[in-house]
C-alpha cells in the first residue's frame, strides 16, 4: 500500500486521558490496573477502569446514544483536541469524503445488562428508557461518533473481537486508496461490562492477580476499557507519522484458543510487512498483543520467532492498560505512534519472572531510542488476526 499520513491521534485509557498522561505512565512503567469491583460483578480481579466515565454526559441532541461506551467515546474525542482536528479536516475535505471506521466488541451492552435487571415484572418488557439502536447495537458506536463529529462519509463498525480496531485501520486505508474517501477517522472504543468480566472468568482466562504478560507465572488477562482514535489523510503537509502497512489473517483453528504455533498470527505480521514493502529487520519495536494468558503469549512468541527471529525488541502494554478488547488495536496503535514520535520503547509492566519457554526480546523497562518503524499485533476470538506497521514522520 502507499504510505498514509497520520495527522492526529489520541488515546484515553486507565493510564490517562490523552497522549501526555499515557506517555508519562508508560515511560515510568506505571500500571493503571487496580484491584477493585466493577458495577455488580462479584469477581475478585484487577481492572483498568477509566476514571470519570459515569460523570460524562453526551450532548443533549445525542441523548439516545447515552451509554457507558459512548460516554467513553465522547471523553476520548475531546482529549488532545482530536475533535477539533477532525473539524478542520472536515472543512478541508467535506463531511462526505471522510470515512469513519471504528472497532468495538461489546458496544453499549452494559445498558442491556442493566435493562434486563429492570424488566417489567408482569410483561417482562424492557424499561421504556432503553434505546436499542443507540446502545446495544454494535453499530451504535459509529452512529454516535459520526453524529458527534458531523461526518457523513462511508462508516461502519468492525467487530472481530480483540482485533477489531486494528482492522479498522486496514479497512479505512483501502477506502482512501480506492478513492472512496480522502481521509478517515479510525479507532476503537470498548468499555467494561459484566459480559466480558464473567465471560473471561468462565473461560478461566481472567487473572485473579494483576496480569503479567510474558511472565512464567502468568495467570490470565486483566480487563480494561479505552477509547483511541486517529485521523488518516491522503495528503498532509506535516504528518505526525505514517501508516505503512496492514496485514490481516484468520486462524481457522478454534473459536477461543489461538493456533498453537501462531500460524495465523505470523501470516498477519508477514502480510503487514509485505504491504509496507519492508523486511523483518526493518522493524525497531513490536507492540505485542500480549494478553498474559498462557496460550496467547506462547503462540505469539512462536509467531514472533518465526517472522523476526529473536532480535526485535518487543513488549506488551496490557500490564498498564489492561486488555481493552475491541479498542486494543487502536490503543496499541496510539502507543506505537507515541513510541515513534518520542523515541521510547515502553517496557512491559508487572513481569516478575521471565518465562524460559518464551524467546522474544521482551523489554521490562522503557528504553529511549530513536525509532523508524514500529509494528503492533492484535489477535482475537474467532481466530481473527491483524498487524499494523507505522513509520516515523521524517
Amino acid at each position: 500500500m502507499s504510505p498514509l499520513a497520520i495527522t492526529d491521534y489520541t488515546l484515553t485509557s486507565a493510564i490517562g486521558t490523552g497522549r501526555a498522561a499515557a506517555l508519562a505512565n508508560l515511560r515510568e512503567g506505571r500500571s493503571g490496573l487496580r484491584r477493585r469491583r466493577f458495577e455488580t460483578a462479584a469477581l475478585d480481579t484487577w481492572i483498568g477502569e477509566v476514571p470519570g466515565v459515569d460523570e460524562v454526559r453526551v450532548p443533549a441532541p445525542l441523548a439516545e446514544f447515552d451509554c457507558r461506551n459512548n460516554r467513553l467515546a465522547w471523553l476520548g474525542l475531546q482529549a488532545d483536541g482530536f475533535a477539533a482536528s477532525v473539524a478542520a479536516a472536515r472543512a478541508r475535505h467535506g463531511a462526505r469524503r471522510i470515512a469513519l471506521v471504528l472497532g468495538t466488541s461489546t458496544s453499549g451492552i452494559l445498558s442491556s445488562e442493566q435493562a434486563y435487571r429492570r424488566r417489567d415484572p408482569d410483561s417482562g418488557a424492557l424499561p421504556p428508557d432503553f434505546h436499542y439502536a443507540g446502545t446495544l447495537n454494535t453499530g451504535s458506536l459509529t452512529a454516535f461518533v459520526g453524529a458527534a463529529l458531523g461526518l457523513d462519509g462511508p462508516s461502519f463498525v468492525i467487530s472481530t473481537a480483540c482485533s477489531s480496531s486494528a482492522k479498522a485501520y486496514a479497512a479505512a486505508a483501502r477506502l482512501i486508496e480506492l478513492g472512496l474517501a480522502d481521509a478517515a477517522v479510525v479507532g476503537g472504543v470498548d468499555s467494561l461490562c459484566l459480559h466480558t468480566l464473567y465471560g473471561f472468568d468462565a473461560l478461566e482466562l481472567l487473572s485473579p492477580e494483576i496480569c503479567r504478560p510474558w511472565d512464567a507465572g502468568r495467570r490470565g488477562l486483566s480487563l480494561g476499557e479505552a477509547a483511541a482514535f486517529a485521523l488518516l489523510e491522503r495528503d498532509a503537509a506535516r504528518p505526525r507519522a505514517w501508516l505503512l502497512g496492514a496485514g490481516e489473517s484468520s486462524d481457522g483453528y478454534h473459536m477461543s484458543a489461538p493456533h498453537p504455533e501462531g500460524a495465523g498470527a505470523a501470516d498477519a505480521i508477514r502480510a503487514a510487512l509485505a504491504a509496507a514493502r519492508l523486511a523483518p529487520g526493518d522493524i525497531d519495536y513490536v507492540n505485542l498483543h500480549g494478553t498474559g494468558t498462557a496460550s496467547n503469549d506462547l503462540a505469539e512468541d512462536t509467531a514472533m520467532h518465526d517472522v523476526f527471529g529473536a532480535h526485535v525488541a518487543c513488549s506488551s502494554t496490557k500490564g498498564a492498560t489492561g486488555h481493552t478488547l475491541g479498542a486494543a488495536g487502536a490503543v496499541e496503535a496510539a502507543i506505537s505512534l507515541l513510541a515513534l514520535e518520542h523515541g521510547v520503547m515502553p517496557g512491559g509492566a508487572n513481569r516478575i519472572a521471565p518465562d524460559p519457554a518464551l524467546g522474544a526480546r521482551y523489554l521490562d523497562a522503557s528504553v529511549e531510542a530513536p525509532l523508524r518503524r514500529v509494528a503492533s499485533n492484535s489477535f482475537g476470538f474467532g481466530g481473527s488476526n491483524a498487524c499494523l506497521v507505522f513509520g516515523a514522520a521524517a
Partner: protein, 269 residues
C-alpha cells in the same frame, strides 16, 4: 465489461447464496425474484450445517446455520474451494438468541455465563465457525452498521476484492431476537444471502457490478411482500440487487448506507 473509474468499484458476482421466507436457495428462488408474482411466502427451512465439525455443529445457533447455508451455496455454485477464500460477514445484531440468553443469565441473583455462550457472543462468531469449517487462514472481517449493515458489507467486500485483486465472499445474515428484545428490535423472520465477488473480468459471471457512493433514495422492491422483508430485515436490503441479477438485465440499484450517502450499484448481466 465495466471500466474502472476512480471512486467506483468494479466487481463480478460469480456465486450467490440465498435463504429467506419462501426463498429456499438461490437456484429455486431466482424465478420468484425475477417475477415476484410467483413468490409464495413460506416458513424458512434451515439446512443442517454438514460442513461444521461435530463440536462446532453442536454449538452453532440459528444465525451460524443460516450463514453457512448461504456461504456453501455461493461457493458450490461458483465451483470455488472456500479453503483460501477471504470473507466479509455483515450482520446487524450478531447472534440474537445468544445475546438474550447472556443478558438473562447476567440479570439473575447469581450471574453466570456459559463459556460457549460467551465465545458465541462475539460479532465474528459466525466468521470464526466458517473459517474453522473451511480451514481458511485468509482474512475475514465482521462488521455492523445497524440497518445499513448490508450496504457496508458490500462496500467492504468490494474494497477488499479490488484492493487485493482476489475473490471475497460476502455473507449478510440477520435472525430475530426473542422477547423482550424483539419488541424493541422487531424482525419478522431470518434472512441470509451470500455474494461471491471476483475481480472484474471473470468468465461468465452471474452479474457485473459497479459500485459508487452517491446521495440517493434506496430502491424498493416492487412487490409488497418482498418490500416488507427488505424494509424490516437489514440483510434483506440485498433483495433489490438480487432481483436485478435474477432478471438478467441491466439495472441501477440504490442501497441505503449513510444518512445522505447511498451505495449506487450499476448491474450488468
Amino acid at each position: 465489461m465495466i471500466r474502472d473509474v476512480p471512486g467506483t468499484l468494479a466487481v463480478d458476482i460469480v456465486g450467490i447464496g440465498l435463504l429467506g421466507p419462501g426463498l429456499p436457495d438461490w437456484g429455486s428462488a431466482r424465478a420468484a425474484l425475477a417475477d415476484p408474482a410467483t413468490w409464495t411466502p413460506a416458513p424458512l427451512v434451515v439446512p443442517a450445517p454438514a460442513r461444521l465439525p461435530a463440536t462446532e455443529r453442536r454449538r452453532a445457533g440459528l444465525i451460524i446455520k443460516c450463514a453457512i447455508a448461504v456461504a456453501d451455496q455461493a461457493c458450490t455454485g461458483a465451483g470455488i474451494d472456500p479453503g483460501g477464500l477471504a470473507t466479509v460477514f455483515s450482520s446487524s445484531s450478531g447472534d440474537p438468541a445468544n445475546c438474550h440468553a447472556l443478558c438473562e443469565a447476567l440479570a439473575g441473583p447469581d450471574p453466570f455465563v456459559s463459556p460457549t455462550r460467551f465465545t458465541n457472543s462475539v460479532h465474528n462468531a459466525t466468521a470464526g465457525y466458517w473459517h474453522i469449517a473451511t480451514a481458511s487462514r485468509a482474512p475475514s472481517t465482521s462488521l455492523c452498521a445497524f440497518d445499513a449493515s448490508f450496504g457496508a458489507g458490500l462496500l467492504e467486500a468490494a474494497s477488499q476484492c479490488v484492493a487485493g485483486a482476489r475473490p471475497v465472499l460476502l455473507v449478510a445474515v440477520d435472525t430475530p431476537y426473542p422477547e423482550p428484545l424483539n419488541s424493541v428490535r422487531p424482525l419478522p423472520d431470518s434472512f441470509a444471502t451470500a455474494l461471491l465477488l471476483a475481480p472484474a473480468g471473470a468468465d461468465a459471471p452471474l452479474a457485473r457490478l459497479s459500485l459508487a457512493l452517491e446521495p440517493g433514495a434506496p430502491t424498493p422492491c416492487m412487490h409488497a411482500g418482498l418490500e416488507a422483508l427488505r424494509a424490516a430485515i437489514p440483510a434483506a436490503r440485498a433483495l433489490p440487487l438480487l432481483q436485478a441479477i435474477a432478471r438478467r438485465a441491466a439495472a441501477a440499484v440504490v442501497i441505503d448506507f449513510q444518512s445522505s450517502l447511498a451505495l449506487r450499484v450499476a448491474v450488468a448481466p
